[in-house]
Amino acid sequence: MALPLAFTWAEFGQQVTSGLASGAIYASLALALVLIYQTTNVVNFAQGEMATFTTYVAWTMMHHGLSYWPAFVLTLLIAFGGGVTVERVLIRPVEHRPEIVIVILTIGLFIAINGLVGWVFGPEVKAFDSPFPNRSVVLGGVSISVQDIGTFGVCLGTVVALWLFFRLTTLGLAMRAVAFNPDASRLMGVRVGWMLALGWGFAAVLGAIAGMMAAPTVFLDPDMMLVVLIYAFAAAVLGGIDSPVGAVVGGLLIGVVINLLGAYVNFVGQELRLPTALAVLLIVLVIRPSGLFGRVVVRKV
């Protein structure tokens, strides 16, 4: 396979860094998926669409004169509220039903939000401002865009903030306890229902961040997050659906690998990046069904 680009370290470095930036976006959304899976044992297929919706909300605020960072923070608050509401209203009634039922519910949410976004905001593609200047810095001979640095920083910063929250605060501990053993948590006086709602709230915030970081590059349209969602899923599953660390590592890994594959493997090019990544993922899953970091579940007869 002929390499389309003459291989230089500078070029390689560039692909890696931009891969890390897009990987950070996948990691954020993947972490959102894992967070929800760990607490409510549900895979939220609508996570991407919820992110799209909140990104549109941010766009609307900015369009009406609000400057970037205030709009950003306000969007996160709205996203949090939205996530909590969805859990309490839609998921709570079906908490005890089989997994397949809740998956279908989130698919219904996916379909509805996807349509709603197009209906309320219009299907035309819109431009989304980036808070980061359109410059590049040169580090060690590699040209890195400030946008990529900013994206990486914001996403990973949020991830670290969440990690600290879960490790250090009482509420964070309670949420972890609920994820591991909700029945015992109840006996400790934890209001399990609200912990689950909080989990959804945080996940929605992560999604909103992923959306707002992705929008400047992929442009704002109703299907914006579909591909990101698939990569995020792939990252979550690759890392082990119950491992937050795995989700983040998986996301970054996928971001970098996709970029490198697309740049250096002629066969893949631009169009087949997604199918190739998914093929690799499927191979990994068939060999190791619980992902790289996941706990192996032994099915005892």
């Binding site: 997994e99 397949i100 939000i113 349509g115 209906w119 599953v237 499927l282 899953l285």
Partner: protein, 346 residues
């Protein structure tokens, strides 16, 4: 004495349905007939989906991808190498030189797609629940990209235009009538096949696997065989539906069967009622007519945007899951209970 009353009622209902389908073309406009043809096509697709998800418990978000495979198979066989090259593409040598009659491509498309489905089913054995949903979603999202890339197989992004369909063998039937009957005869045959499978040993094995794979093993059922079989059969149904669709529209391109369709197929199956053959017909009607009525509801002189369709679809699906998990079919059971109790008593 009582035992034959329920099957009798079911038989009567079925006979009534068959009669209705047979005489419908005399009473509807050509446009409506086209819509009912789509209902028939969706019916076939949903039968397959229900077999996979409803009866054998394997969730799929990629059913439309198998429809695409069936559609492309049919399209390529109809064109043949000559037709394909006429459209300006380099044809593969696998393709026969001359195109064949559309009607014969339908079972071949079903077979090809069925085999591919089985092949997919084998690695899918290692996946369950979430991972399987993701894998099928991956297939659905990847297929358009793959189709665009491999132009010499699929005609690339531009798609394939097929010659306009008409009744074969010189039969004097108008095209819309012909397409309608073609779809519904396929639907009827495949319905009988599905019914026989579901009520027989295979269906019992599927249900055992769906309800508890480990328990199924201890009753001598081999999950691997039956799960793969379910994938294959469901894919074959999708392939037939895809072929019928391509013939109906006389065109196919990578975006004819998008991800959204896979999701809507699943949604329709659930709304109709999983693991229920009578729910499938409801699902087929919902899939065809709900988007239309969401955009322009009857009786009200309002016109909504195109996106009203998905919104109503999604909301309906959520309401069904929340309130009537068995779907429309379970409602039907509840509604007809007084009739059936009366029938079995008198």
């Amino acid at each position: 004495m009582r035992r034959w009353t329920t099957p009798l009622l079911q038989g009567l209902a079925l006979a009534g349905a068959v009669l209705l389908i047979a005489v419908l073309p005399r009473f509807t406009s050509e446009f409506r007939l086209g819509q009912f043809t789509y209902v028939g096509i969706y019916f076939v697709a949903l039968l397959g989906l229900n077999i996979l998800t409803g009866y054998s418990g394997q969730i799929t978000l990629g059913h439309a991808a198998f429809m695409a495979i069936g559609g492309y198979t049919a399209a390529l066989l109809i064109l043949g190498r000559s037709g394909f090259e006429l459209l300006g593409h380099q044809a593969s040598h696998v393709l026969p030189q001359h195109g064949m009659r559309a009607i014969f491509t339908i079972p071949i498309a079903g077979l090809v797609t069925g085999v591919i489905g089985c092949l997919f089913g084998i690695p899918a054995l290692r996946l369950a629940g979430v991972s399987l949903a993701l894998a099928t979603l991956a297939v659905a999202v990847s297929l358009p990209a793959i189709a665009k890339r491999f132009e010499h197989l699929t005609g690339g992004g531009g798609g394939l235009s097929l010659p306009l369909p008409h009744a074969p063998f010189g039969w004097h039937v108008s095209t819309p009538h012909w397409l309608y009957y073609e779809a519904w005869v396929c639907a009827g045959i495949l319905f009988v096949v599905a019914w026989l499978l579901v009520r027989g040993r295979v269906g019992r094995a599927w249900r055992a696997i769906r309800d508890g794979e480990i328990a199924a093993v201890s009753s001598g059922v081999s999950p691997a065989v039956y799960k793969t079989l379910a994938f294959g059969i469901s894919a074959a149904y999708a392939g037939v539906a895809g072929a019928l669709f391509a013939i109906q529209v006389s065109y196919i391109n990578p975006d004819t069967f998008p991800v959204t369709l896979s999701l809507l197929l699943l949604a329709s199956a659930v709304i109709g009622g999983l693991a229920s053959l009578s729910g499938v017909i409801v699902g087929a009607f919902v899939l065809e007519f709900l988007p239309i009525y969401a955009q322009s509801p009857p009786l009200v002189h309002l016109h909504f945007a195109k996106q009203a369709g998905p919104v109503v679809f999604g909301v309906t699906l959520m309401l069904i899951v929340l309130l009537i998990p068995g779907g429309a079919a379970s409602l039907l059971v509840r509604v007809t209970r007084p009739v059936r109790t009366w029938a079995s008593r008198s």
